[in-house]
């Protein structure tokens, strides 16, 4: 017993440092992301500095008159103001009103993002359940797996742009069909991940359950599903990102005006006069994706903390 209690103390001793380590690594992560962001901005503006359009700053900042003109030595089409608007122009687009006298574009985009996120989330929930359901069906029925897997794969080789109009016509041109398109893109990664996870148990564990005369249902709930959880979350992260793409494409096909899909079409049409607005919309789409995938990460951490062997890494 001395060895046992000795180890308890050893584990207790290592706890505080273990608790501090994630905080340190999270701070390092934030710094890393910031450095990459700054580097991207520098490359972006560096390219414009070398080969973009001429630009000048003529402004009063805190009582100091700024007047600066720059004429790039080279001329690259990819770096002109139409292809690559200035980072500060994109930033300003968020603050400037979307329409004369209206709220700022950033607020409008945020509202559209929330709407699109809602559709994506509903599609994700349906697609996720469908994906997991198919996984459970396939591991329990070799016949169903053999018969259906080719169709599951085929469903993902057809371009979503071809499927979406059919879905819209078949269901109804509203947010329900948008959800269906999002679900269509969502279920596949979940099926793949759950199929892998539901089979990831140690084969000897199955022999143990056999020796307990456990039923199929008990094996599913007590062995297959718990084993699949970390795999499932990998699939859910892919599915979360895909559900937003699905919702945006669904909105555009169904002509749902309240989301980011219509914003993209709108600012596409005005790209020549205001390219920074489309870029601002792209930034907003990315933010929605980040929030969604981040939420899945948080959910995973909350559900698996202390229950599963800790795994290093972000995804």
């Amino acid at each position: 017993m001395t060895t046992a209690s000795g180890s308890v103390r050893a584990i207790a001793r290592t706890r505080p440092t273990d608790a501090a380590a994630p905080r340190r690594s999270r701070r390092r992560q934030v710094v890393g992301i910031a450095i990459v962001l700054v580097a991207l901005v520098l490359i972006w503006e560096g390219a414009k500095w070398l080969g973009g359009d001429p630009w000048r700053i003529h402004a009063q900042v805190a009582g100091v008159a700024l007047d600066y003109e720059h004429f790039p030595p080279l001329k690259w089409r990819i770096a002109d103001d139409l292809s690559l608007p200035h980072v500060w122009d994109i930033g300003r687009a968020f603050v400037d009103p979307a329409q004369r006298g209206g709220p700022p574009l950033g607020a409008v985009l945020a509202g559209q993002a929330v709407f699109t996120f809602g559709e994506a989330l509903a599609g994700f929930a349906i697609g996720g359940l469908l994906g997991l359901g198919l996984g459970v069906l396939f591991v329990n029925s070799r016949l169903a797996e053999r018969a259906l897997v080719p169709y599951v794969v085929a469903s993902q080789t057809v371009p979503i742009l071809a499927i979406a109009p059919i879905v819209v016509v078949a269901i109804k041109a509203d947010w329900v069909s948008v959800m269906a398109v999002a679900a269509y893109l969502t279920f596949f990664p979940v099926t793949i991940a759950s199929l892998r996870g539901l089979r990831a148990f140690d084969p000897r564990a199955l022999e143990l359950f056999r020796s307990y005369a456990g039923t199929r249902r008990q094996i599913l709930w007590q062995l297959r599903l718990p084993t699949s959880v970390p795999y499932l979350f990998s699939g859910l992260r892919v599915a979360a990102a895909a559900s937003i793409i699905g919702a945006i494409i669904g909105e555009q096909t169904a002509g749902v005006a309240a989301g980011l899909g219509s914003a993209i079409i709108n600012y596409n049409q005005y790209y020549v006069s205001a390219p920074e607005r489309l870029w601002a919309t792209i930034v907003m789409c990315t933010l929605v994706g980040f929030v969604f995938v981040g939420a899945i990460n948080v959910a995973e951490r909350v559900l698996t903390r202390g229950r599963y062997r800790p795994v290093p890494g972000m995804l």
Partner: protein, 281 residues
């Protein structure tokens, strides 16, 4: 065949054989196995790799079925015995469920078998005491050392009082020191629980120290070549490992194994020749 103990027969094998595959590619893993194990015995199966000792254990535990002979467990077919939950199993790896605490791992078979919660908790508490892991009840498997995990696996196998404990090289992955300590602990557990144990190992000292009988097997095809009664005192301890009788028995088992090694060499050549022939075909 010598039989010690006066308990009721638990395992009765007569002419049991196991052939894997069919036709030209078939491999005879076991041939003509006659063996009777009585209640309360501790029987070790020892032999070179490929002698079918694990296969024999798996046949008894109904993880695979014989292709010849008759095999009964507690007077039933192995399949019936399995459905009656007569077996506790321990493998070389602990195979614990990561998402369950140590106590919940021990309770897993009880949950599957529908024991009431109160009973489950009492049993897991008793077993944690038995394997001296009370302090780890609420820990998860990955927080324990390999030896501790294997003790949990043993506690789990004992949780539902199985009539027969089947152990397949349970200490094979542990270092020598831990292994000897686990041997002593298993000895104590066996004495206290009076379970019948069939134990597969490739360690001669382990087999001699633990068993009431050692079944020496030979390979290709897997056969029982000798059964050696271990007449060491029932109360075995670290000192037992230093007694002259222990050494004599270790030597006896080693010689029984070696005797068949020479025979194995020729069949090994046959095997190599057969692989060459198959390569040409």
């Amino acid at each position: 065949m010598a039989e010690s103990g006066a308990g009721a027969p638990v395992v009765e094998a007569a002419g049991v054989g196991k052939v894997f595959g069919t036709g030209d590619g078939s491999v005879t893993a076991l041939d003509g196995i006659d063996l009777a194990i009585r209640a309360g015995e501790f029987v070790s199966l020892i032999g070179p790799s490929g002698c079918g000792k694990s296969t024999l254990l798996r046949l008894i535990g109904d993880l695979t079925s014989p292709t010849g002979g008759t095999l009964t467990v507690n007077g039933k077919t192995p399949s019936r015995a399995r459905l009656d939950r007569d077996y506790g199993m321990v493998f070389q790896a602990p195979v614990l469920m990561d998402w369950r605490t140590i106590a919940k791992n021990i309770e897993l078979p009880l949950e599957i078998m529908g024991y009431p919660a109160e009973d489950r908790r009492r049993r897991s508490a008793d077993l944690l005491r038995l394997v001296e892991l009370e302090a780890f009840a609420d820990r998860h498997p990955w927080e324990l050392s390999g030896g501790m995990q294997q003790r949990v696996a043993i506690a789990r196998a004992l949780s539902f009082d199985p009539k027969l404990l089947l152990m397949d090289e349970p200490f094979g992955a542990l270092d020598e020191m831990t292994r000897e300590r686990m041997n002593t602990e298993l000895m104590n557990i066996w004495r206290r629980t009076a379970t019948t144990i069939v134990f597969v190992t490739h360690s001669i000292p382990e087999a001699v120290f633990l068993s009431t009988r050692v079944v020496v097997m030979s390979a290709r095809p897997g056969r029982i070549s000798q059964v050696i009664d271990i007449d060491l005192p029932a109360d075995r301890s670290v000192e037992t490992r230093e007694s002259p009788r222990y050494f004599a028995l270790v030597t006896q088992v080693r010689e029984a194994l070696r005797q068949h090694e020479s025979g194995e060499e020729s069949s090994g050549l046959d095997g190599a020749a057969r692989i060459r022939a198959e390569g040409l075909a």
